[in-house]
Structures are given as structure tokens and as C-alpha cells.
Symmetry: C2
Subunit: 334 residues, 2 copies
DNA sequence: TTGTATGCGTTATCAG
DNA sequence: CTGATAACGCATACAA
């Protein structure tokens, strides 16, 4: 395991010069660089990450904190973050909390040791211990998708309200008047925003929105399944349902299938977040697609710029787009 | 940013004792531990990861190398690895190469700086530069899913051949005699093993296997789409198709849909690797399910044990299981 | 443009 | 059981 001193000796220069030459600094002669590189190559020299991190005061690792890496949405965010990070020679540490606030807090505190140069996070916790842990993060912090209460950091998100409003308005135009929503936890700002867009569409249509059509606090497949079953018991049944996110949609679809209802004849379905199998489901599911990959890239970018000393960065709002497939149709008149 | 010396001073002990107390070593008095802990807590002391890594000679980071983190199979592997790693207070660095051998090699070499204490990898590269890079890995190495030629390290895999043979035999029992396979790259040992199981089933059925029924070298959605289109042009058409992996299946399904063929009436489909939307596709897709999460855990476990000094660890073979859904049926007789 | 010397914050060795 | 101190391997300020 050759060290910098070995390289220096072989190249006939000082260790300082080795560092500079290998970083390709302008202040080093081309000739010297060549010598050093040759020596480094011959000795298979690779600078120690730990030593460098200690000496420079920060690592070349970016953290990504997500509720569930198994959810394709977050996996795409991860890929985007990683790609952008790689361009700046950073690597990514990914931590997935399984939607478990306790685990999340634990993970978060375990990263206060400077392992990470910066952190991009989508979190689910809301209690104070969690907020403290998030705030105590060393180095820059960027929020992805949603902002926990009381945390001040740049956020990368989509315009939830606007896109939802537009999509739901389309449902009204199709003739639906009884549109339900399976919404997420009340303290998720994303849930609030999507709900707000939903209400706006109702308002624009001049239709009253009965409370029973909104089911709060659902997350994951299980949540979607449960909520949909509740909605199916309503009388009259909603003619269309808007699902908070991809996994909620999957659960909802399973409930509908079990109830042997047909989409879109008996009920129309609109998902938030696309999935690559949605086109293959029977019928193909319409969805509001968030640019997950780009969100990841944007988050990395924000982190990198802060690491470069930039201050006062604002939120990044990316466009979400409606993808029309066959799960949406006018309500059947019977 | 309190350091270990501050804690030592406040607690009235030496830095060595602080280290020992905080690691809860048996050689330290309960009273001393209490003093040290109190001091550390009061100063918000968190040991520096970089300093520790430098001093101890290795980090607490495990690497995971995958072709595509966006593929749910690998995301589950990642989750398993991470969960197991967390139990031993390790974190995970995940690198996804987009199936790009060059990027893969680049990533690999960038990890020779000791960032990682160990590496779990599923790779796609085959050239020499790549093999060298993988072999030059610092610290323990574990292979997941498949083993590149010439690399010697413990492998976590499923019994591809056996499970494939069993599944294909079931198709023969249903009455199929013209079963095709969309296989992966010839130099993937997984492809070889699944193909071998496939041939075995043919042999057991006493049926000759025409070359045209095997399409080699396909990967990803695009590969599956292309291969399936080729198969559909065959005359007579195969009555059943076995797809190498999850994404290949997705591509194949799209081709079938475009051709307006019905599953399983016109053609039966069997996938390798399950996906959480397969039950919702019309019809629900039968699949051979690999325990991805468990594979990730096993990989982490193998890594951790090597880090603990264990040697001579062997391969881990986990069972894959056939999940019968509705995409498989006897061939229609017309 | 290059060299010297010191610091980075722990951990581990070796006494006591 | 605890303390003093030497690594760990690189980067940087300061000199030259």
C-alpha cells in the first residue's frame, strides 16, 4: 500500500508537490506533473479517502435519506442524485428508513459524525427529536419532495397544487361530480398541497365537496387498500378516485379488483406518480408524473453549490405532467 | 465542534479513557463511564468519522454496486443489505452503473481509496480492465446474483437452474411443446444457468429444442420488446415464453399488447423475478420470485463476517419460488 | 514553482 | 483500570 511519501520519493519531489500534481493544479510544471503521475501509476498509489477527509475537513460523500428505496420514485431520485454527484466526484450514501420515524431519527443522528459532506432528505418524522436531529446535520441540507415543519433548507419539489387542480378539473369536464381522494398524512405538506389543488378544482366546478370523499392519512399499499375499501362502501359510490401516490394506488387497485369492479366503467382512477408497469395494468392507469430523476439531480446540484460556498439558494420547483391513459372515462349513466 | 480532548478535560480523564468509555469497554469503571458519558452529552460530542477511519484503518461503510438501482430487484437487495449493515452500525454507499461497463469500471476504481470497508457487487462488465478493478478492491468482496469470470469471492445467488427446470417442466405438463426463452447475455452465468435448466426441462420432456426458440443477449425493457417481436414472427409461434428477468418481461408484455395478442389464450408468459404490479397486470403474471431482500442481507452478512476476520466463506444459495398466477395456461387447440 | 513542517481527531500501544 | 503519546496519511500555510 504505497503512500504519498513513496510517490514523492520515487518522483524526486516533496509530498506537497505530489498532492498538487495529482490534483492537476495550475501551479505545477507539466514536466513535474508527468513525473509524479508516472510514479503514482507505477506504485499503484491511491490517496486514502480517510486521510483526505480528515485533513480537508470534509468527505466526498453525499447522503440521501428516503422513506423507502424500494419505492421506484425514490430509486429514481437516488439515481439522479448519484449521477449528478458523480460528475463532481462525489459518492452517495443511501439510507432508507422504512417509513419508521424512530429508525429515521436514529439514522439521522448517526450521520452527525461528518461521514457526509451534505445531505438530501425526504423524511416522514414530525416530532421534535426528529426535527432537532435533522437540524443538527453537519454540512448543507436539501429537502426533497416535502418540507417538514420548522426546517429551513432549500426544497426540490413539483407544483403539487397546480397539477392536481388541473387534473381534477379534467375529471369534472368528463362529467364526474363525485370524485374522491385518498390523501396522505395531514402533516405532509405534499398532502396539503395536493388536497388544496383538489379542493380548488371542486370550487371551480361549483360543486360541494362532502367530507366523506376525502380519506386522510394513508400511505403505502396497505393504506391505499384500506381507504379504497371504505370508499367503495359509500352510497352513492364515488365515480372517480384520486390516489395520493404510487403505492397507495397499487393498494387501491387491488381493492377494486377484489371487489370485481371494472375500471373505468364502474370507477375512474388517477394516480399521483407514474410507474413503469402502469401502462400494462388493465386498463392502463392514468397518472401525474413527477420528474423523480431530475429531482434527484437538482438536489445534488443544490448540495454541490452549497459545498462550493454558494448561499441563499431557493427552492426548485419542477413541472409534473399528466399522463392520460385508459383508467379515466366519463361516469357511466345508469 | 467539541473534540475528544474537550470531553477528556471536562470529565477529568485522558482521551484514551474517553474512547474506551464511549465504546463501553469492560475495562472501564462504571463510575468513569458515567462521567465520560455525561461530559460527552453536555458537549454534544460526536467522534469524527474521518479521524476514526484513518486511525482504525477502515471505515464503517459498505459498498453496494448494482447495474441499476431503479430496478426493484436491486432496490430490494439494497434494502436488505442496508438493514443488515445497520445492525452492525455500518452504512451503505450505493453505486448504480446504468448497465454501462465503462462507468462501472470507473466507479470501481474510484473506490480503491479505502472509502469502503467492504463491497457487495452485481456487475455487468466482462473485459479485463474491469476484472482487474474488481480484484483490486480493498477489503472483503462479495458477489451478488452472478459471478464474473475469473473473480474469486463468495457469491449470494439462487438456484437458477433447478427452479427454472421445475417451472418449465410445469409448462410441458400443461401441454406446451413450443416454449421459447428470451435469455440474457451469454457471458452472464445466471443466463447460462437458467438456460441450462430450460434445456433440462426440454430433455426431460423428450422434446427437441429448435435454436430459433432461444433469443440470446437481451437485457432491459428494450431487449425484451425486441426479442418478443422476433418470437411473434415465428411460424408456428411459440405457445409460451420464459423471460430472463423482470425488465425483459415488461418489454415482452408491451410487445404482446401491441400485437393485440391475448395472454394466456394466444401465448403464455413466465417471468423470472416478481414485481409488485405483476398481480395487477391483465392477466396477472406468473413469476419465479427471488428473495432479493434476503440476498441483500446475506451479502451484508458475508461482508461483516469477513470484516470480523472469518475466512473461507462459501457461496450462499437461497431458494427461488414459483408464483402461479394467470399468465400460464394450456395452449389453445385450434 | 516547490519544499518544510505542522495540524486534522482518533485509536492503539505501552507503561504505570 | 487509566494515562501519555505515537502513529494514521494527507493537505495546507508559510517559506524559499
Amino acid at each position: 500500500m504505497a503512500g504519498i511519501r513513496d510517490v514523492a520519493k520515487l518522483a524526486g519531489v516533496s509530498t506537497a508537490t505530489v498532492t498538487r500534481a495529482l490534483r492537476d493544479e495550475a501551479s505545477v510544471t507539466a514536466a513535474t506533473k508527468a513525473k509524479v503521475r508516472a510514479a503514482a501509476l507505477r506504485l499503484d498509489y491511491v490517496p486514502s479517502a480517510a486521510a483526505r477527509a480528515l485533513s480537508r475537513g470534509r468527505s466526498n460523500l453525499l447522503g440521501l435519506f428516503v422513506p423507502d428505496i424500494t419505492n421506484p420514485f425514490y430509486a429514481q431520485v437516488a439515481q439522479g442524485l448519484e449521477d449528478r454527484a458523480a460528475e463532481a466526484r462525489y459518492h452517495c450514501v443511501i439510507a432508507s428508513s422504512h417509513l419508521n420515524p424512530e429508525r429515521e431519527r436514529h439514522l439521522l443522528t448517526s450521520f452527525q459524525d461528518g461521514t457526509l459532506a451534505g445531505l438530501a432528505a425526504t423524511t416522514v418524522g414530525t416530532d421534535e427529536g426528529f426535527t432537532t436531529a435533522l437540524g443538527a446535520t453537519r454540512g448543507p441540507l436539501v429537502l426533497v419532495d416535502r418540507r417538514p415543519r420548522g426546517i429551513k433548507a432549500p426544497l426540490v419539489r413539483t407544483d403539487n397544487r397546480k397539477v392536481t387542480r388541473g387534473a381534477i378539473s379534467q375529471l369534472f369536464e368528463m362529467g364526474h361530480t363525485r370524485i374522491a381522494m385518498i390523501s396522505g398524512p395531514r402533516d405532509f405538506d405534499t398532502a396539503c398541497q395536493r388536497l388544496s389543488g383538489f379542493r380548488l378544482a371542486y370550487k371551480a366546478a361549483g360543486t360541494a365537496l362532502p367530507d366523506e370523499l376525502i380519506r386522510h392519512g394513508h400511505l403505502g399499499e396497505a393504506g391505499g387498500y384500506k381507504a379504497m375499501n371504505e370508499l367503495l362502501e359509500l352510497d352513492p359510490r364515488p365515480t372517480a378516485v384520486f390516489c395520493f401516490n404510487n403505492l397507495v394506488t397499487v393498494g387501491a387497485l387491488k381493492a377494486i379488483r377484489e371487489a370485481r369492479l371494472r375500471i373505468p366503467v364502474d370507477i375512474s382512477i388517477l394516480a399521483f406518480d407514474d410507474m413503469n408497469l402502469f401502462p400494462l395494468v388493465e386498463p392502463p392507469i392514468s397518472a401525474i408524473d413527477q420528474p423523480a430523476y431530475e429531482m434527484g439531480r437538482a438536489a445534488a446540484d443544490l448540495l454541490l453549490r452549497q459545498l462550493d460556498g454558494e448561499r441563499g439558494l431557493g427552492d426548485v420547483v419542477l413541472p409534473a405532467t399528466m399522463i392520460m391513459r385508459e383508467s379515466l372515462a366519463p361516469p357511466s349513466t345508469r
